[in-house]
Amino acid sequence: MGALPVYHYVGMGLLLFLIGAVGVIIRRNAIVMFLCLELMLNGVNVIFMALGRAKGSVEGQVIVLFVMAVAAAEAAIGMAIITSYYRTHRSVDADKADLMKW
């Protein structure tokens, strides 16, 4: 079984990223947007891994570890914000969160 060429991995990562991006843009539900955001991050992660392996260096994998750590922290904070927002507004609709808008 021969190894898949690297552009397959990159193409899949790009696909994941774009699905995530479109999801962030078109969806209103903050939790779904949040999930899409995770999807974008993971798309990027895949590309990092693939390119890192193709080049034979560990840097790509190292960055992925960092991204995962930061994503975990970000998930905790993001979910906390959404939860507390829900408590006060009884809704997780991102378009309604416009208190700071002029």
Partner: protein, 629 residues
């Protein structure tokens, strides 16, 4: 000796510090700090005087104060015949003024009382620094310090607008003079490279005559401000707004004598510039004359005395201007006694009459307040140059000096001014103390002052009567003493000996002038022949001119104050401040506002828009990179 010098300056400084820091607690007992402080200072000054008399002088530094490159300014003192003469006079007269103040300031609120004594001590401290400094910079510290204290004390009743304004006027007019003084100092430093008195005077001959003239004229500008000479005398009459003992201190011991002292101290420079000497003598003579004429018609007790001070300072400048420095300084000392005395007596009259100063409302006070009246008459006789009182000796020395050195016109003006002086002083006496009381109510409330005020009067009166005899002490009297320092001027003693016969004649003439003034005043204000009122209406234009003080204040307002105020208002305020500065600041804010109100439409609050923005931005950047990278 350095210790004693530090004690002379240190005690009043300590007194001022204590009253300044703890006055809120000391209050009514402030004089228990201030008076011993100044008295101890006077005792140490007398001790120094005896040491100098024995031939010991001192020049030395306490510690280096400013060292910038080649400029080296120490806190250093110079004690010689000239400075010891000054500090003895200053501390002696100031001590009695302090004591007098206890009675005079009796009705002041407790806080003001402590503040007053703090300033009074500080005033003397700065004057002593000025007199004892061994370099121009430290002298300038004292010079500015007395200016500051005069501002504080003239404006002592700061809640009164006229007092606050008078304080400011004194300060501002002095600043104009100081400006010249400072430029003079800069030039001295540029051409001599030092500001130590000894260095400057030792190297004075290296300065070109033209530059020496410029420097001395600039120094003299400073002196005209501080010593109230034409054209900067205008602050002194207004300085009457302060408490009377302050006027006494300003006129007698501290402040106004500083200019005369400075010129005498710088005599090595002035001797190099004959033109400057001419200017000094001429300005002195002009001031003496004009100030005396202004005193002729004034009805305000203190203002007459103020103009008289301006006039007498003019005499001192005649003295230093014609090169008889010692006579000028001697007149400074005798004047300190009799003018200090007369101001204190005027204060005593004011105190008795609850602040009344209009002589036209007084009269017949001799019986009500005999000590005040008699001491005043002693002072007036001294200033009028009636022998053998103090003023006769010193004024005569100055006028003889002027005559012998060939300044015949100045001698004539001086002698005529002596006549005017005698006239206006005795006019004041006859209007105030003799004749019928012109205001029943005021006459009713008049009473003699308490002993704490009359004793200083008596002491100073005795002084005014006797200090003149210092002129005929052995070894050349005062002149012989001071000429240890000042002799490098003209050869006074020789010149006087040559003209011995002339000297006696001059003496007789000035005595006649004095008596004539007294006689005319007596006939006009006691007998009414010729009647002052008809005389006033006959010479109405002259009378009005004099009464309005030659309109000099108005002229200065027209020439300087109004253009300055108008220019500041129209140009600096309404254009520079409002249009330029405010315009720039507000303009920046406005432009930011415009940009912001345009940009705020980008912030829709819809997260999708932001996400598209970020994504679009990333794509565009990537695209640009492909294009140009």
């Amino acid at each position: 000796m350095l210790t004693s010098i530090c004690a002379v300056i240190g005690f009043p400084l300590l007194g001022a510090t204590i009253n300044g820091l703890f006055g809120w607690k000391i209050k009514r007992k402030a004089h228990w700090v201030a008076v011993p402080a100044i008295a101890l200072s006077a005792i140490f000054a007398l001790r120094l005087f005896s040491q100098v008399l024995a031939g010991h002088t001192f020049v030395g530094d306490l510690y280096p104060w400013l060292v910038i490159g080649k400029l080296h300014v120490p806190i250093g003192f110079q004690l010689d015949q000239l400075s010891v003469f000054m500090i003895t006079t200053v501390t002696f007269v100031a001590t009695w003024i302090h004591i007098y103040s206890i009675g005079y300031m009796d009705h002041e609120p407790p806080m003001g009382y402590a503040r007053y004594f703090c300033y009074l001590n500080m005033f003397v401290t700065f004057m002593l620094v000025l007199c004892l400094a061994n370099n121009y910079v430290l002298m300038f510290v004292g010079w500015e310090g007395v200016g500051l204290c005069s501002y504080l004390l003239i404006g002592y009743w700061y809640e009164k607008a006229s007092a606050a304004n008078a304080g400011m006027k004194a300060f501002v007019v002095n600043r104009i003079g100081d400006f010249g003084f400072m430029i003079g100092l800069f030039l001295i430093y540029k051409f001599v490279g030092s500001l130590q008195f000894n260095d400057v005077f030792a190297h004075a001959h290296e300065i070109t005559p033209a530059m020496a003239t410029i420097i001395t004229l600039l120094l003299f500008t400073g002196a005209t401000g501080k010593s109230a000479q034409i054209p900067l005398y205008v602050w002194l009459p207004d300085a009457m707004e302060g408490p009377t003992p302050v006027s006494s201190l300003i006129h007698a011991a501290t402040m106004v004598t500083a200019g005369v002292y400075m010129v005498s101290r710088s005599h090595a420079l002035f001797n190099l510039a004959p033109l400057s000497m001419e200017v000094v003598a001429t300005v002195g003579a002009a001031t003496a004359f004009f100030a005396a004429t202004m005193a002729l018609v004034n009805n305000d007790l203190k203002r007459v005395l103020a103009y008289s001070t301006v006039s007498q300072l003019g005499y001192m400048f005649i003295g230093v201007g014609v090169g008889v420095y010692a006579a000028g300084i001697f007149h400074l000392m005798t004047h300190a006694f009799f003018k200090g005395l007369m101001f204190l007596t005027a204060g005593s009259v004011m105190h008795a009459l609850h602040g009344e100063l209009d002589m036209q409302k007084m009269g017949g006070l001799l019986k009500k307040m005999p000590i005040t009246a008699i001491t005043f008459i002693v002072g007036a006789t001294a200033i009028a140059g009636i022998p053998p009182l103090a003023g006769f000796w010193s004024k005569d020395e100055i006028l003889a000096g002027a005559f012998v050195h060939g300044h015949k016109v100045i001698w004539f003006v001086g002698t005529f001014t002596a006549f005017l002086t005698a006239f206006y002083m005795f006019r004041l006496i006859f209007l105030t103390f003799f004749g019928e009381p012109r205001d029943e109510h005021i006459h009713e409330i008049a009473h003699e002052s308490p002993p704490v005020m009359t004793i200083p009067l008596i002491v100073l009166a005795i002084g005014s009567a006797l200090v003149g005899f210092a002129a005929i002490l052995p070894h050349g009297g005062v002149a012989g003493f001071l000429n240890h320092v000042l002799a490098s001027g003209h050869h006074v003693a020789e010149a006087a000996e040559e003209g011995g016969g002339v000297e006696h004649m001059l003496m007789i003439i000035s005595v006649i002038a004095g008596f004539a003034g007294v006689g005319l005043a007596a006939s006009m204000y006691l007998k009414g022949v010729p009647n002052p009122k008809t005389l006033g209406s006959t010479f109405k234009p002259i009378y009005t001119l004099l009464y309005h003080k030659y309109y000099v204040d108005e002229l200065y307002f027209f020439l300087f104050v109004n253009p300055l105020v108008g220019g500041s208002r129209q140009v600096l305020w309404k254009f520079v401040d409002v249009v330029l500065i405010d315009g720039t600041v507000n303009g920046v804010a406005k432009v930011c506002g415009w940009i912001g109100s345009g940009l705020r439409y980008i912030q829709t609050g819809v997260i999708a828009h932001y996400a598209i923005g970020i994504l679009g931005g990333a794509v565009i950047l990537y695209w640009l990179r492909l294009l140009f990278g």
